[in-house]
């Protein structure tokens, strides 16, 4: 459906996109994940034709569309803050793309009603943009983008401005909707939770380059680099030398999974792999802080200062959590240790 070949975009002396290759298959949902400034919005603008690449080609349905102006690309883009037309009502916004494609009046009316039904706003045609709440605007924007049946639907931080409860509900709805419509979707977000729920495949971006691509599970289980690991929220990353089933690290000797290649590398220890024991049974640490996270497991995150080496994050259940200032011993679970790429 969509293919990008070596796309470069430069702003001044900064590269917003640096040799980006990307493919999105028919009916696939791909989420581009990255911190702000990583180039993800630029990526969407390049595909939509709102930003010309300095180098590289863009292919849509097998045809080179690099030079095509945006209004002839037949892609849909949902803007970050929706960009609904303030002078039109909800129905007028949804009908806009259909009118541009010269649909008949009757057909347009039916399609608008159908789409507003689809996004859960039946009968909202006459409502003005000003009277729509944030969530409703988001739904109208989605209906507007879907109405002309674009070959590719792109979403820029689709749920960025909504509060958490609404976001969690909508992201599940969106996923179901895209499955049902068999829409090809390219979305960008900075929220890993959102990306993991929505996407068949995630693409992590850093400073204009693709840092890793894979299914949500692959990326979560095997972050390709220290950047990806830290972006996913894992901070227990150390230099290590692997040999014979163990690794030498500043925290001492750590077990590693079978088949880990020997030699120098970075190691990630997930917080759940840091086990608390009696002081004399493991690496002695002082508890610097404990943070109650809530959630189903009533988890507590501990910040530990080991006797030697950088600080460690550990996760444990509430009833086992020591108080700040206590001393504890720490051992490591080899199954939660991951070798990171260079």
């Amino acid at each position: 459906m969509l293919r990008l070949d070596g796309v470069n975009v430069t702003f001044g002396d900064r590269r917003a996109l640096d040799g980006v290759d990307l493919e999105v298959a028919d009916h696939e949902t791909v989420c581009v994940l990255g911190p702000s400034g990583s180039g993800k919005s630029t990526l969407l603008r390049v595909v939509a034709g709102l930003q010309n690449p300095d180098a590289g080609r863009i292919w849509l349905s097998g045809q080179d569309r690099t030079e095509l102006p945006p209004h002839r690309r037949e892609v849909g883009l949902m803007f970050q803050d929706h960009q609904l037309f303030p002078q039109r009502d909800a129905g007028g916004n949804v009908a806009f793309g259909l009118r541009m494609r010269r649909s008949g009046r009757q057909e347009t009316r039916e399609r608008v009603a159908e789409l507003l039904d689809l996004v859960g706003l039946p009968g909202a045609q006459r409502r003005t943009v000003a009277t729509l709440s944030g969530g409703e605007q988001q739904r109208v924007a989605l209906a507007r983008a879907l109405a002309p049946q674009p070959r590719l639907l792109m979403l820029d931080e689709p749920l960025g401005q909504l509060d958490r409860g609404l976001r969690e509900r909508l992201v599940v709805e969106l996923r179901a909707l895209f499955r049902r419509l068999r829409t090809t979707v390219l979305a960008v977000t900075h929220d890993q939770g959102e990306a993991f729920v929505l996407a068949d495949r995630v693409v992590v971006m850093n400073e204009g380059r693709i840092a890793q691509a894979g299914t949500p599970l692959q990326v979560w289980q095997h972050p390709a680099s220290e950047f990806v690991a830290r972006f996913l929220g894992f901070d227990n990353v150390v230099d290590a030398t692997v040999h014979g089933g163990t690794a030498d690290t500043p925290w001492g000797r750590l077990p590693v999974p079978d088949g880990t290649p020997t030699g120098g590398c970075k190691l990630l220890v997930r917080p759940t792999g840091v086990r608390l024991t009696a002081l004399e049974d493991g690496l002695p640490c002082t508890v610097e802080a404990r943070t109650f996270r809530g959630g189903d497991a009533a988890a507590v995150t501990l910040l530990l200062q080991p006797e030697h080496g950088p600080r460690l994050e550990a996760s444990c259940a509430l009833r086992e959590a020591p108080e700040a200032g206590e001393s504890v011993g720490v051992t490591f679970d080899g199954r939660e240790v991951v070798r990171l790429g260079p």
């Binding site: 939509a48 102006p69 849909g76």
Partner: protein
């Protein structure tokens, strides 16, 4: 007027279910930051590519306004200055010194400056509480009152003069009731100036004040600042540049005041503008008039430069929220007292003069009636006119309509040029200079422009002396700055990404302009047309020179009536002023209906 709320604003709708934790202002700011983030800027090459096209487009758009101003502003003004300072092909810069050393001229200059300063001070003192009340209080009839307050601003200055004459002058309302006459004192002039400019302060300062986030002040209070300290430390600094800009505009207007002084000043008081008129029209002393014109020109240029700087400084980031959120009903005795005192000031200062004007127009020699209005319909009633004075209404409306069209075309093109992106630093600088240039007619002596028209536009191919086009051309000069100032913020506020959204949905660039820009701008265009119409209708300084005797405009007719002795002439002046006031007020009320959001600068 002035550039009240120059900050580009967009409708920000606070969500009901989702954005409670965020203020609209925050959202707004985030959207902005997002838009300005590097990801949304273009690459230099791309920008350069578009820049060349944009620069060319800008220059093309500027061509018509520049030609218009060169031909109908710069050329006539230069011609009259040249006529004054050059005899037999020789320049006489010595005239400058001669005139400037003249004690009479110094006296006029001194009076011009101090009355402008005093008028500005009085206006601020009376209108700032009004700005606060309009910004922060919600009360029934607020919309109507806002319109009422604005009526004087669009009222022809000659009408203002006659209203105050009816109130304060010989045989005026106060004279009858209390034996009090102020038309011989400077107070009448100051009051009339406050009357006209009250709206400038209320609308520009109040417009910004209404949008300042009250939570800024609340934050200061929570941090331990008292009510007054919080206001002084938080609100005042945010308002100060806007107060400064409003003060400068008021000073500019009163500095160049003509109609009011002409009617109320008598022989004792004259501003530079009045003196220029006297020197040209009465004494035919062109050299002195030329020097005075240059003097006024220099002063106005300085004022406009300072104003432009103030406005630029004001465009710093302020925490803004939609105005509707900040106003609420007054609470407590103090706030009610403030509201009532402002209402009293408005009643005494604005409603009473207008009411007295209307009353005088009906108060004939034989009791109340339509006597003066009927007299307007006949030729014989006055030797001042060769046609029935009522014809002046038709003339005025026709002239103003043509002037409005010219102002819309010229001002619209100029505003488009000012908001088009592209072109390098050189084009940018050129455009900024162009922006200031277009403001100049607001402050330049209208008398000079009018007389300059007669002197400069008298040779083929541009012999317009006997053409009726001369009047609307001169009138449109003052309309253009209003059109530009009204259109600019709206054009600037059209979000680029709305156009992008339209493009992605399949709209070609032209279609996107028609579907997105035009509907957003249409209302501003109507508002601009209304203002241009009102100021054209009231234009006096230039029109008094160039209107043909058989085709006077309303203000010219009023002035002619006032210049003649006799009860009937006076009554007819009042009647004509009333008609003029009604036309202007009707235009304004129509505008208030169109403009439900206060997005313009006036």
């Amino acid at each position: 007027m002035g550039q009240g709320v120059d900050l580009a604003r967009r409708e920000v709708t606070p969500g009901k279910d989702s954005r409670e934790g965020q203020t609209a202002g925050q959202q707004h700011r985030e959207q902005r930051e997002h838009r300005d983030s590097p990801e949304h800027r273009e690459s230099p090459e791309h920008r350069a590519r578009r820049g060349n096209a944009g620069g060319a487009l800008r220059l093309a758009l500027m061509a018509v306004p520049v030609a218009f101003f060169g031909l109908f502003f710069a050329y006539p003004v230069a011609a009259i200055v040249g006529r004054g300072l050059r005899t037999a092909g020789q320049w006489h810069p010595g005239r400058l010194g001669q005139v400037l050393a003249d004690p009479d001229v110094l006296h006029v200059l001194w009076f011009t400056v101090w009355q402008a300063a005093a008028s500005t001070g009085c206006t601020l003192a009376l209108a700032l509480p009004g700005a606060y009340v309009f910004a922060r209080f919600d009360f029934p009839g607020k919309q109507l009152l806002r319109a009422v307050v604005t009526v004087p601003f669009v009222l022809p200055t000659v009408v203002v003069g006659s209203a105050f004459l009816a109130l304060l002058g010989r045989g005026g309302a106060l004279d009858e009731w209390f034996g009090l006459r102020l038309d011989t004192s400077v107070w009448a002039i100051l009051l009339a100036h406050v009357f006209i400019n009250y709206a400038v302060v209320v609308r520009t300062v109040g417009g910004l004040w209404a949008q300042l986030d009250p939570r800024q002040e609340e934050a200061a209070r929570v941090l331990g600042a008292g009510r007054l300290t919080a206001w002084r430390r938080v609100t005042l600094p945010a308002l100060a540049p806007s107060v400064g800009a409003a003060a400068l505009i008021v000073f500019l207007f009163t500095f160049t005041s003509f109609g009011v002084i002409q009617v109320l000043g008598g022989p004792r008081y004259a501003t530079l503008e009045v003196e220029i008129y006297r020197q040209t029209a009465a004494l035919l002393d062109l050299p002195t008039a030329a020097v005075l014109t240059l003097l006024q020109f220099a002063a106005v240029t300085v004022l406009l430069a300072v104003h432009a700087r103030t406005v630029r400084r004001r465009q710093s980031a302020l925490s803004m929220v939609p105005a509707a959120q900040t106003a609420r009903r007054p609470q407590g005795r103090g706030q009610w007292a403030l509201l009532w005192s402002v209402l009293t000031v408005v009643a005494l200062l604005i409603v009473v003069p207008l009411a007295v004007l209307v009353e005088r127009s009906f108060n004939g020699q034989h009791g109340y009636g339509l006597e003066y209005y009927r007299a307007l319909g006949s030729v014989s009633s006055s030797a001042a006119f060769t046609v029935a004075p009522v014809a002046a209404i038709g003339n005025s409306l026709a002239y103003a309509a043509v002037a409005t069209c010219i102002a819309l075309v010229v001002g619209g093109l100029a505003a488009a040029a000012l908001t088009t992106r592209g072109g390098g630093g050189a084009v940018g600088g050129l455009v900024r200079g162009f922006d200031s240039m277009l403001m100049l007619p607001l402050g330049t002596s209208a008398v000079t422009v009018g007389f300059g028209f007669l002197i400069a536009l008298d040779e083929p191919p541009l012999d317009l002396r006997s053409s009726w086009m001369l009047v609307p051309l001169a009138q449109s000069l003052v309309g253009v700055p209003f059109v530009i100032r009204t259109m600019l913020p709206v054009l600037r506020a059209v979000d680029v990404r709305l156009r992008e959204a339209a493009a992605v949905l399949g709209a070609s660039p032209l279609r996107a302009w028609r579907e997105v820009d035009l509907p957003l701008v249409r209302r501003a265009l109507l508002v601009a047309a209304g203002f241009a119409f009102a100021v054209s209708l009231g234009e006096f300084g230039a029109t008094v020179f160039i209107a043909r005797p058989d085709a006077p405009t309303l203000p010219v007719a009023v002035a002619r009536f006032l210049g003649r002795a006799g009860e009937v002439n006076y009554g007819q002046a009042m009647a004509m002023s009333t008609i003029l006031m009604l036309v202007c007020a009707a235009t304004l009320l129509a505008l208030e209906r169109i403009r439900t959001d206060r997005s313009g600068e006036f």
